[in-house]
């Protein structure tokens, strides 16, 4: 591969790492900090991607929209559209045990996917929505800078949240719910806030993704890409640690990309399908991490208390 090809691949690679990093940060807010088990990431991702697709694409006859609105309006729409969905899920499940939340979120993600497959007046069905342009006439290189800016913004927000009193309450809920309730904190409300914030970050990731690939269809939101990789990233990077979440996105996406090469080396007759083999490898990797190093690459560090020396 020549230099130009290599740098083009690097830009492509880093853009996807950035998008996944934002989603991993969102999941860290829910799971790492609050202990909420969301495996419906794909659903919120889809809401974000479809909202900006409908808002910013050129008008089409077969469906509602597009409205040809500017990029930033589309992204804002993604985040705003996610709020009522996340509120509904969070409201139903805020008082329930983790297992129930997990089952409920996977149900929501599946229903959102069914919705986008079947309601073609809105989403153009399985054919998807093409022609979602990158903003300001930018190419891949310029768009990478925008993604990096959003990653930085997302990191800043969750890091401030983590160090704030609000973040302390979330960790207290995660570690000892009855004690936190005894301290007079409204647990359901804090959980709902964390759930919505995290889900909105996932929707933001979805919006950025839609503009990056220029096309959305229900195929992209199967549990694997949307949900599973983000979970592997957070667990591998270190749940509870925001830098860990982003490092996990980089490392896991690197491994995921290199499994393509490994799968290319093994004869197809032996493994049947290349994509299935890659999923198999990444699933085994997650099992190994869970069994051998459940705290991840960068374990969680408690932020300093106010006035405490580092």
């Amino acid at each position: 591969m020549d230099m130009a090809g290599l740098s083009a691949y690097a830009v492509f690679f880093l853009s996807l790492v950035g998008i996944y990093a934002i989603m991993a940060l969102g999941l860290n807010m829910q799971w790492g900090m609050t202990g909420q088990f969301n495996i419906g990431i794909a659903g919120f991702f889809a809401v974000g991607a479809y909202t900006t697709a409908i808002l910013t694409s050129a008008p089409a006859e077969s469906r509602v929209g597009g409205f040809d609105l500017p990029f930033l309006v589309g992204l804002a729409g993604s985040v705003i559209a996610c709020i009522p969905v996340a509120w509904l899920v969070g409201r139903i499940t805020a008082r329930l045990r983790t297992d129930y939340l997990a089952i409920a979120t996977i149900g929501i993600a599946e229903i959102i996917r069914l919705f986008f497959v079947n309601e073609s007046w809105l989403s153009n069905g399985t054919r998807g929505i093409p022609g979602i342009e990158k903003p300001f006439g930018l190419g891949n290189n310029g768009y990478l800078l925008i993604i990096i800016a959003f990653v930085a913004l997302a990191w800043l927000l969750v890091e401030i949240a983590r160090r704030s009193p609000w973040g302390r309450v979330l960790r207290a809920i995660r570690d000892n719910e009855p004690a936190t309730a005894a301290a007079g904190k409204d647990i359901a409300r804090f959980r709902l806030q964390a759930f919505i914030t995290g889900s909105c970050l996932m929707a933001l990731g979805g919006g950025l993704y839609a503009h990056f690939v220029g096309f959305v269809s229900p195929e992209a939101f199967r549990p694997l890409y949307g949900t599973f990789l983000v979970w592997v990233m957070l667990i591998a990077g270190g749940s509870g640690n925001n830098l860990g979440a982003m490092l996990g996105a980089l490392v896991v996406w690197l491994i995921w990309s290199s499994t393509e090469m490994i799968a290319g080396l093994v004869p197809t007759a032996l493994i049947g399908s290349e994509s299935a083999f890659r999923v198999f490898l990444i699933g085994v990797l997650l099992q190994i991490i869970l069994v051998s190093r459940p705290q991840g690459l960068l374990p969680e560090k408690r932020p300093p208390m106010p006035g405490e020396k580092r």
Partner: protein
Amino acid sequence: MIEIIQLLINGILLGSILALGAVGATMIFGVLRFAHFAHGDFMAIGAYFALTVVTVFNLPVLAALPVAMLLTGGLAILIDQVVYRRIRRVQPVILLIASFATALVLRSFIQMVWGSSNQVYQVGIQLPWRIGPFTLKPDHLLIFAAAAGLVLIVHLFLSRTRMGKAMRAMSDNMDLALVTGIPANRVIMWTWAIGGALAAAAGVFLGMDTRLHPVMGWTLLLPIFAATILGGIGRPYGAILGGLVIGCAMELSTLVIPGAYKPAVAFAIMVATLVFRPQGIIKGNA
């Protein structure tokens, strides 16, 4: 009216498949305290084990059923010993993530070994029987009979054998059961074996009714959990009842909403249960 009865017949069929899956899921939930997300993929791999037996030895599906159940039960114990056992003491939620990974590993394994296209046990069209205005396929009768037989065996196991009673005791009250000297590890292994075997049976029946596909089990996971929660966590009899209710509700719902949204019906019932009666129909350990 005729349409409703026909849908009810289909619903009981789907319901008995769901019930078999839900009995295993609820036992695992009750004894090990975690929602097993690979349960649907246990169903799928059981169905594919049976497919191999059917095609290699040229046997009828029902003869392949015990083999598939045995293999899947063994696989469930193996996965438990290799993966779940090591993280059981950490946190139930870590088990949940691990089971999610198991689900993907199993599914991609199926795609690698058997391919990802639709497959059937028997090529050719089975002529349905016409009983008055209703239609019933001979396969459906087989599924009803076999599912009822399996449920009866599970009932006898749970109520008459020491191991079955120990299992129910652990599901009811873990601490009390352990204090009385119940061999926890053996109970856990039996739970996996029975859960895996019943899931395989459900998968084979589903494959007989429709077709085999790598995601066939995953798509039924949500209704199975709905049946588990509706019936009360850790309550095998509740799970059977829950499976039948969810199956009938999913089929009857096609009268008013598009069939594509059947999983949404199961989900709605589940959410309603969680909000209004989180302990389930038969009081479970919510």
